[in-house]
Each structure stands twice: as C-alpha cells, then as structure tokens.
Amino acid sequence: MTVLFFASVAQKAGVRSLALALEPGDTVARVRDRVVARFPQLESSLPTLMYALNEEYVRESAEVPAGATLALIPPVSGG
C-alpha cells in the first residue's frame, strides 16, 4: 500500500509518499500509527488529521484493502 503526504504534513515528514507493507487486519489507525512511529514529528498534526482511502474520506476505523492508497489530509484550505 501507499501513504500520501500533503502540505504541512509533507513538509514535516520530508516525503510526499511512502510504500508500506500491509499487515493482516490493518485499519487506517494502525497504518497511521506505524507512519507516526517512523515520523514522530507528525504527532502534533494528529488532532486535526483526516484520512482518505482510494480518494474517499474514511474514519480511522476503516479497514485498509490490499494495494490501497491512504492519504493523510490536514485541514483543507483551498479556494
């Protein structure tokens, strides 16, 4: 699976994407926790972070299907 980083989160992580091995029963929250273990500087972004799986907003309890793209979405500010 792939994790995507944007805006302030990409800036803090220093990367825009990351390939991760999926583990059985992985949810968004579990994948997110492994990402934060790797990039502890993302900890402060967590309270306002949202998530999208394959381009659709999901809750952190959602299961992550094989080959999925998980996007970490800080509060949007387009327009």
Partner: protein, 151 residues
Amino acid sequence: MLIRVTPDVLQTDEAIASVASAGAGAINVFLGVVRNNNLGRTVSYLEYDAYPAMAEKVMRELAEEARARFGLEAAAVLHRTGRLEIGEASLLVAVSCGHRGESFEATHWLVNEIKKKVPVWKKEVWEDGEAWIEGPESMGIQQAPAGMRGS
C-alpha cells in the same frame, strides 16, 4: 462538466463556454483571487498544494450535487496549484441556470463546500516567513463529513 486541478492560469472564457446552454438565462462566475493581505499580514504570494485526483473527484461530486440541488444547466470547477501571485485566480466556479436567484445560491454553496471538502492547501508566504494555512473552514475542524465509510 469542466472539472480541473491545474498548474496553468484559469481561463474564465473557457469556463463560461463550458456552461453555456440554450436554456440558461443566468451565468454566475466566482473567482477566488490572491489578496495582498490576510489577518493583518502582508502576503507576498501563495503556494497551493493539492491531491489532484481526489480533488477532482470531490469537485465533480459537489458540482453534480449542486446541479441536482439547484436545478443547474451546468457547472464548472477549476482550482489552480503551485505558486500564485497577488491578483491571480486560485479558484473558479461557474454555473448556468434558468434564473439569477439560483445562480447566486448555487455558486455560493459550491464555493463553501469546496473550501470545506476539497483536498487543496495554501501556504502563505510573507516577507519574513511562511505558513501552511490549515483552514478553519475545513470540515476536519468544523464537523465530520456526511457519508463517511467505517464505523
């Protein structure tokens, strides 16, 4: 429907042509443009980041919802990415419909929803620094989005 996330200059005439319809009596166009100030600070320029594939998907869903909700003939939504100078347009929304009242309501509704839901982010660059804006209008801060998957 013209839906686009692009690093290129937004073309108003193209958007208006895209919503043209023989049954339309009103066309409303909103341009979000880069202002030289925000919250009391002087802005030098903006830098927009986006998740283009998902942004276009959400923009298309919102345009379809606006079409049904306000009885539009057509709608167009374009968002620009990259570095934008003062006065340049970052967002363009255009709608066409029978009468003017709905055209204003639909465009205003679309702009509000876009600012809440479309995965695009702006960084303000000042003379003495810069910051990613994490929008108070984002649904991530205001409310949970309708129709989320998961429990």
